[in-house]
Amino acid sequence: MGLFDRFKKGLQKSRSSLVERLGGIFKSRKLDESVYEEMEEAFIAADMGVETALALVDEVRALAKRNRIENAEDLPPLMVEAMRHILEETPSEMNWAKEGPTLVLVVGVNGAGKTTSIGKLAHHYLEDGKRVLLAAADTFRAAAIEQLLAWGERAGCDVVRHSQGADPAAVIFDAIQAGKARNVDIILCDTAGRLQNKSHLMAELAKIHKVAMRELPGAPHEVLLVLDGTTGQNGLSQAKVFKEVVDVTGIIVTKLDGTAKGGIVLPIVHEQGIPVKWIGLGEQMDDLQPFDAQAFAEAVCRP
């Protein structure tokens, strides 16, 4: 089963999933205002937020008019199109260093899936024949270093680490020196989870970012914000603040193997202009997939 099938299957398992709802809503119905009202509610139920839901409904309405559509059943492709328009505003390829190691800083709130996503990315790039190094710059959380070491072992790559409580910027510094010396292709840096309203923790992250910029030209080449797919409207605040502090270049949405739809990425992409680059669909090494706007939109809203 492909990953997107798994995503869709997850969605279908939810009793009143958007998919089912829309199927029910649209079956042999004329296109009237009540259809659009229910569509709005379905978008909101997928965590897209009221503003984006309304904007999407307006766009679907315009598309329907232009295409002279009269039956509600014919709306889903237009919904996919409307969502894709938002999601494709920004390109989602990873950025690589012209020469020397590429440094990827992984950030986000507590428990979002940073460490696990790093394990998956390491596996992905190792499979791709790249030389990968991990940096255990979460020196705060209990057993975070052991967790990353376990992932390093699973994926088959080295982990640069200090002891718990050490300065995370120093870990990054060491990882960069080691990465240069060993001529690795990519350094994936784990950081401690932090809520975006904790200014001292955000300042610590800014310092890590600065060390990376200073020690390696062009670094960090990517700053990936890990967003829990079950997150609601707070995701917007996360994207906004992390972007301000460390100039986020992409998003990894995790836990889309559940029934959450991850709709919060739409307002994020739209308002903050940050592209989604990866999606996480499980706890195993290969449960990671490059983001595909069309497939995502289809998985979220095809009846």
Binding site: R15, G49, G111, G119, Q147, T231, Q233, N234, K255, E283
Partner: protein, 309 residues
């Protein structure tokens, strides 16, 4: 946040427009409830819960007297605030103690919700109240989950029982009970692996663990940042396990925490504690329904006006 600013200014406008005194008219209520709906949705209260709630409050509000010091719009918000507080469960409730020790408490929830952290905080608080807790490491899946529990156990000075990762969690909790008896522990706190509510195998595993140790409390840990999906998670965990209480974690962030209302509604279980930080050296905080109601509404100005009225 832009959304919120926009919301409160449009709310002010809506409230300002309503100036007639006397009884609340259909129209007064209609206008104010539109803004309340937006506030609840922006706080991640589930759409269906919002719909029912708004309908009920609207009905209750029409025809009520308007207090002299309030505008009709403010009066509606006051009613909404009172209803919300009521819904989230009046008085705070504590952990139920077993008549015959040990009292067994299982924490369950989605991945990364904050179970292990909450366990450590609970353990600390029990120890400070002259109990003898034992932590049982029943997460055999997540890398270094057992290490994490040991580190936290050391921090709060409470013993941890584990059997490594090669036994199944049902055996682990059974043995954990024997260990509790041997040590004379009067509270057993079971750390379970995070799991999706749709993961049939892992949900069955929880049912089996529950059957094996007959916990007094099954606490569902819910992340305050959770969005609309909270309803499915709560429904399923409650259906399968009979949740007895809720812990709302990460409320030290800036999420408005509307998912709590959803979970409260769906399970009918009280929210027992809130998590306000990563550090385990402070115990879990008791839950205050009125504070969360005002946070969910995000209408601080209006609410302080109302409180003074």
């Amino acid at each position: 946040m832009q959304v919120l600013e926009g919301l409160s200014s449009s709310l002010q406008k809506a409230l300002g427009k309503l100036r007639s005194k006397g009884k609340l008219t259909e129209n007064d209520v209609q206008e104010a409830m539109r803004e309340v709906r937006l506030a609840l949705l922006a706080a991640d209260v589930n759409v269906k819960v919002v719909r029912d709630f708004v309908a009920r409050v609207r009905e209750r509000a029409v025809g009520q007297d308007v207090q002299k010091s309030l505008t009709p719009g403010q009066q509606v918000v006051k009613i909404v605030y009172e209803e919300l507080t009521e819904l989230m469960g009046g008085t705070q409730s504590r952990i139920q103690m077993a008549a015959k020790p040990p009292t067994v408490i299982m924490l369950v929830g989605l991945q990364g919700a904050g179970k292990t952290t909450a366990i450590a905080k609970l353990a600390l608080s029990f120890r400070q109240h002259q109990h003898r807790p034992l932590l049982v490491a029943a997460d055999v899946y997540r890398p270094a989950a057992i290490d994490q529990l040991h580190v936290l156990g050391r921090q709060v000075e409470v013993p941890v029982f584990d059997m490594g990762t090669s036994h199944n969690p049902v055996d682990i909790v059974r043995n954990g009970m024997q260990e509790a008896e041997r040590q004379g522990a009067d509270i057993v706190l079971v750390d379970t692996a995070g799991r999706l509510h749709i993961d049939e195998g892992l949900m069955t595993e929880l049912e089996d663990m529950k059957a094996a140790i007959q916990p007094m409390e099954v606490l569902l840990v819910v992340d305050a940042m959770t969005g609309q999906d909270a309803v499915h998670v709560a429904e399923t965990f409650h259906e399968r396990l009979g949740v007895t209480g809720i812990i709302l974690s990460k409320l030290d962030g800036d999420a408005r925490g509307g998912a709590a209302l959803t979970v409260r509604q769906v399970t009918g279980c009280p929210i027992k504690y809130v998590g306000l930080g990563e550090k385990v050296d402070g115990p879990l905080e008791p839950f205050h329904p009125d504070r969360l109601a005002s946070r969910i509404l995000g209408m601080g100005d209006v609410l302080s006006l109302i409180e003074r009225a």
